[in-house]
């Protein structure tokens, strides 16, 4: 009798495993979308997709992790989707590492990355930065180490022969630094991208990039794991139709930025844009 207690846990686990596998066979309606917390546009679009699909009877689980982690997980055929792939420049190198990813749609056309300064700073091009190192205290405030934008900025420092150091911590630290500098009317140069709510909240401008280190317009795309299209043809079709124009995107980002509850805000946004959503769902 005493020996039985050692069997308790293994048996319990097996029962759970059995329950779980039944659940999975019954329920292929579980969809996982990877999301990078802190990327405003990715967070906003992912929540909108979740709001739409939850209404269609799917069960969407958002998995928060970093870009490469999400891509590795999709490459293993586990995570279903990622809506924040920036091409042709920012994520091209990262994507090359993971051959098992499939492109299924473009969410947005006018993405842009580069160096950003507040509007009151009288500098308009990356080439002019070297005349003002002192005002900027030799620093470019960057985001995470390892981000595509960070790599691009390192390249810009070399190609433009900038006497600057890129300071990397996190996206949110960069935005905090920027907000503090603007409050004190100080000079600051950061790495930034559009679409992002910081452009709605603060008066900012991109510095011209005559050497095209940061490329031209970027597209934001949805990628899926390899067999997703085969497993969910109807969803692949939906994601191929899902697309935001500039107006919709900036409206969504502003609402998300002011929101306390992103899921509720996304649901409201979906209600308010039912025509557009029906177009994506091919229901008109």
């Amino acid at each position: 009798m005493k020996q039985l207690k050692y069997l308790f846990f293994p048996v319990l686990m097996l029962v759970f495993a059995a329950l779980n596998s039944c659940e999975n066979i019954k329920n292929s309606k579980y969809i996982t979308i990877g999301m990078v917390d802190g990327w405003a546009e990715d967070v906003a679009m992912t929540h909108v997709a979740k709001a739409i699909l939850d209404k269609q009877g799917y069960h969407v689980i958002i998995q928060k992790a970093s870009t490469d982690m999400i891509m590795a997980s999709m490459n293993n055929e586990d995570t279903d989707l990622f809506m924040g792939v920036w091409l042709p420049y920012t994520h091209a190198k990262k994507l090359a590492k993971f051959p098992g990813l499939t492109h299924i749609g473009t969410n947005y056309n006018n993405g842009r990355i580069g160096l950003v300064v507040p509007e009151y700073v009288p500098v308009n091009s990356i080439g002019e930065l070297n005349q003002h190192q002192e005002q900027f205290s030799h620093r470019i405030i960057g985001i995470e180490k390892g981000a595509g934008l960070t790599t691009g900025t390192d390249k810009a420092i070399i190609d433009y022969k900038l006497d600057y150091q890129q300071i990397n911590s996190s996206t949110i630290a960069m935005i905090t630094e920027l907000q503090n500098a603007i409050q004190r009317k100080q000079w600051i140069v950061v790495t930034g991208w559009q679409p992002h709510w910081m452009f709605g909240k603060m008066k900012l401008k991109f510095l011209d990039d005559p050497k095209k280190i940061f490329g031209e317009a970027e597209q934001i795309k949805t990628y899926s794991r390899k067999s997703f299209v085969k497993d969910h043809p109807e969803l692949a079709k939906f994601f191929s139709r899902l697309h935001f124009d500039d107006e919709n995107m900036s409206d969504l980002l502003m609402k998300m930025e002011q929101s306390k509850n992103k899921e509720a805000t996304a649901r409201e946004w979906v209600e308010d844009h039912s025509e557009l959503v029906n177009l994506w769902l091919d229901k008109n």
């Binding site: 846990f9 319990l12 686990m13 029962v15 759970f16 495993a17 329950l19 779980n20 596998s21 990877g34 917390d37 802190g38 998995q63 928060k64 992790a65 970093s66 982690m69 999400i70 590795a72 997980s73 293993n76 586990d78 995570t79 996190s170 996206t171 949110i172 935005i175 905090t176």
Partner: protein, 275 residues
């Protein structure tokens, strides 16, 4: 800085080889791990909160005295009132599975290291490596093996939390007075009987201290595991950080502290009872 020695490439090759060839094994572990974590989570989330608070309060009262029981009841109620109950239960499920798995692996290793000089020489530097390698580094192989989610979170947590249990098990068994072991042997006890009837009971207090350390290390790692979609309080802490939400960051951090205090005092209570 130019690379003259590229150790990283060998590690990378090894990890990639494992990822390619270990897939069936990893998939089984992934399913079992997911099932057990999700199962325990399901039970914890679906049990009414007052039942769980009552359970922990009684456990604290029994093992750690009145003061801690009051702290437990108040702390858990506060977590519930802050609206972080579900996340706390997710974290608890992850800690539970990680700790149990870590102990299943580490106690036999600890016994082995106490019994065999050679094993001790191999295990000790490995433990040093596991304990001092920055915890974030474990996230890389964890994701390559198990994708993102709860299982890689548990995997990284287990590696991080194992060493103290191994070390303290070894220490406990080595500290058993030799004359007691001799006396047992004189009465004709087998090796097995000596281990289970003499050494382990006498070393139990030290082993329980190791278990206590393992639980606390799991808790600290669970937050880092939030970076790979392991959910729970870790994800809430990171959400606070990523959105500059001071309130959310503090509340989820506070919940982690409350959980740590409760688990620490209750397991310490088990140690004290052994005296």
């Amino acid at each position: 800085m130019n690379k003259t020695i590229d150790i990283g490439q060998y590690v990378e090759t090894a990890i990639n080889w494992l990822t390619e060839n270990g897939k069936p094994v990893f998939d089984v572990i992934k399913h079992l791990g997911n099932a057990s974590i999700m199962g325990i989570e399901w039970v914890l989330v679906h049990t009414p909160f007052y039942v769980i608070i009552l359970f922990f309060t009684l456990l604290a009262l029994w093992k750690a005295g009145k003061g801690i029981a009051v702290v437990t009841a108040a702390g858990l109620s506060l977590i519930f009132l802050m609206g972080l109950w579900k996340e706390t239960m997710e974290t608890l499920a992850l800690i539970f599975v990680s700790t149990i798995t870590a102990l299943i692996l580490s106690i036999p290793l600890g016994i082995l290291a106490a019994k065999s000089k050679i094993a001790d020489k191999i295990i000790r530097p490995l433990l040093d490596l596991m304990q001092t390698m920055p915890a974030f580094v474990y996230l890389i192989p964890a994701v390559l093996f198990f994708s993102i989610g709860k299982v890689p979170g548990a995997f990284a947590t287990i590696i991080f939390a194992m060493p103290p249990a191994v070390r303290l098990t070894t220490l406990g068994i080595e500290a058993v007075p030799k004359d007691i072991v001799e006396a047992a042997r004189a009465f004709g006890a087998t090796n097995r009987q000596i281990l289970f009837k003499v050494e382990l009971p006498l070393a139990m207090k030290t082993i329980l201290t190791g278990i206590n350390q393992t639980i606390l290390l799991s808790l600290s790692m669970v937050v880092i595991a939030g970076m790979i979609a392991a959910g729970g309080l870790g994800e809430k802490v990171l959400e606070g950080i990523n959105n500059l939400d001071i309130g959310l960051g503090f509340e989820s951090g506070l919940s982690v502290v409350i959980l740590a205090i409760i688990l620490d005092r209750i397991t310490q209570g088990f140690v004290k009872k052994k005296q």
